[in-house]
């Protein structure tokens, strides 16, 4: 593969399930060595995108290239060049850790001596050497995750897909996984595509983040630049009462760039937030509002998501769940 070529090229990629469009006319490119994040709520189409890029699902229309190979025309070439860590565990619990890796290495056609070397190396990388002989069903969630990441690396993939790699893990294990992912990207130069609905994960790891909602990208840039879009700090007030007056007086202030009111929370976007608090609180009180708490923070990707979509990730997840429940009354399982 040409070293200057993009690791992933996606053009108008679309997937529809019956009458639901899970991925809608997606186009983007990921350069070699990038750590690229897909951020969005459940049901945004992240996993469907990964499944198409990893050849498990056929696109309804559009095209995609991974490592220079078309995902429809050269499925086996794509498969040889990628590693995938799926959202749900894909290990055989009745096999030991080493046997799971051995299975994988043989499926990828590695020779015996090479297998041993690579398996030992990846086991060491994720610090599972001493547990390699234990049946996987006895592993903890974090160990399974690490084993899967190790497995995804055995064949030296050009592109590694990590679908929600830290979902359901405790904070400490999550940190641990983040360190591995970062190290793989920086030291081993593996191109990584990661999906997540954790803001801090995308923020901490990714060089570029695509914010995904309802099958489309609503924004795509470096996390810091995305946050710059919001322009300044955010002061959040928890208030009771004074509705109309608050709206009028805050909107009238020229140094407040953005005013959002959601139930009992008022969010103001402004520069030099730490100095302005002293002005904001009395203003709210003059409107007859009781200020419960004041918070000053730098914008997060959560705010970026809210800015671009008009709702929070949590709200979006709740409404997607509703939509699915209405759509499939007898079937609890959601399409991945």
């Amino acid at each position: 593969m040409d070293p200057s070529a993009d690791a992933i090229v996606v053009e108008n990629l679309t997937k529809t399930f019956e009458d639901v469009t899970a991925v809608d006319q997606l186009s983007f490119r990921v350069g070699q060595g990038e750590l690229f994040g897909l951020l969005g709520p459940n049901g945004a189409g992240k996993t469907t995108t990964i499944n198409m890029l990893s050849t498990l699902l056929r696109p309804t229309s559009g095209r995609a290239e991974v490592g220079g190979y078309d995902v429809l025309k050269h499925r086996d070439a794509v498969r040889k060049n990628i590693g995938v860590v799926f959202q749900e565990t894909a290990l055989d619990g009745k096999l030991t850790g080493r046997e799971n890796l051995e299975f994988h290495a043989m499926m990828y056609g590695l020779r015996k001596d090479e297998r041993k070397r690579r398996i030992d190396a990846v086991l060491e990388l994720v610090e599972l050497n001493d547990k390699a002989g234990t049946l996987v069903e006895k592993y903890s969630g974090g160990m399974k995750r690490r084993l899967e990441i190790a497995r995804g690396l055995i064949q030296n993939p050009k592109v590694l897909f990590l679908d929600e790699p830290t979902l359901g893990l405790d904070t400490q294990t999550r940190r641990h996984i983040w360190d591995y992912v970062r190290m793989l990207n920086r030291e081993r130069k593996v191109t990584i595509i990661l999906t997540t609905h954790y803001m801090e994960e995308a923020d901490f790891l990714c060089g570029r983040v695509a914010i995904m909602d309802k099958g489309r990208f609503v924004a795509l840039d470096a996390p810091s630049r995305l946050k710059d879009v919001l322009g300044g700090d955010i002061v959040s007030l928890e208030v009771k009462g004074g509705e109309g007056c608050l709206d009028d007086s805050f909107r009238a202030l020229p140094w407040i760039k953005k005013y959002v009111r959601r139930d009992a929370e008022v969010s103001l976007t402004l520069d030099k937030g730490e100095r302005r608090i002293a002005e904001i609180v009395p203003l709210a009180q003059q409107c007859g509002a009781v200020v419960g708490s004041v918070r000053l923070r730098e914008p997060s990707l959560e705010d970026v998501f809210l800015h671009f979509t008009g709702h929070t990730i949590r709200e979006q997840e709740a409404s997607t769940a509703d939509r699915f429940r209405q759509m499939i009354p007898h079937h609890g399982r959601r399409r991945p």
Partner: protein, 255 residues
Amino acid sequence: MIINGTAIYVLWLREMKRYLRARSRIFGSLLQPLFFMIFLGLGFRKMPVPGLGDGVDYIQFLVPGILGMTLLFSSAMQGLSVLWDREFGFLKEIMVAPVSRTSIVLGRIAGGTTTTMIQGLLMLAMTLVLGFRIKSPLLFLWALGFMVLIAFTFIGIGLIFASRMKDSQGFGLIINFILFPLFFLSGALYPLDNLPRVIRILALIDPLTYGVDGLRGTLIGVSSRPVLIDFLVIGTFAVFMVVLGTLVFRSSESV
């Protein structure tokens, strides 16, 4: 379409490891045919059943039938293991590997056939302990051939259903609505001549009918058709089901 020997081997190896580690399953799945044999055998031992063949008592007649039943259920279970893989996510690990779908099917068939043969032979060994006698060692080799063809046929059918289903819950239904009729229609428990004409015609399209008759011909030396005919018919079914199972599995979505 490339056939990948290593992939077939490793899929087979995985099946063997899983099989040998599930000792209770091996034991449990032998109990059902054993009960059938003991209780039906003892219960009908003294009863005259017409059409058994000259000098054949009911237990002799029953053993090949119960062997057929063991093979039928054990091989159809291979479909269930595809569904388990789907549910536990391991199917994705298999499907995302750079291996042709045909190799994956062949690996599964190899694994399923081996476990089915082990189950069948264990079952046969138990009947030997209980007093069953094989007619001749040479004919026994033919019986092994029948066993393999029965396994192929029903692994193929299992794959067809498993590829079209999303979870294992529906598989119980398949067992009740397909496997049991196939079993009862096959003449495993009684001579088919005793059935009403309409049902006898249904029995003629049941692959297991030829499998059981062939097993009888090769194990006890009595069959209602020439063994060669049985062999050709079950062989045709086996090829057809394996090819169809492969095609259906290949066209199924992986996730």
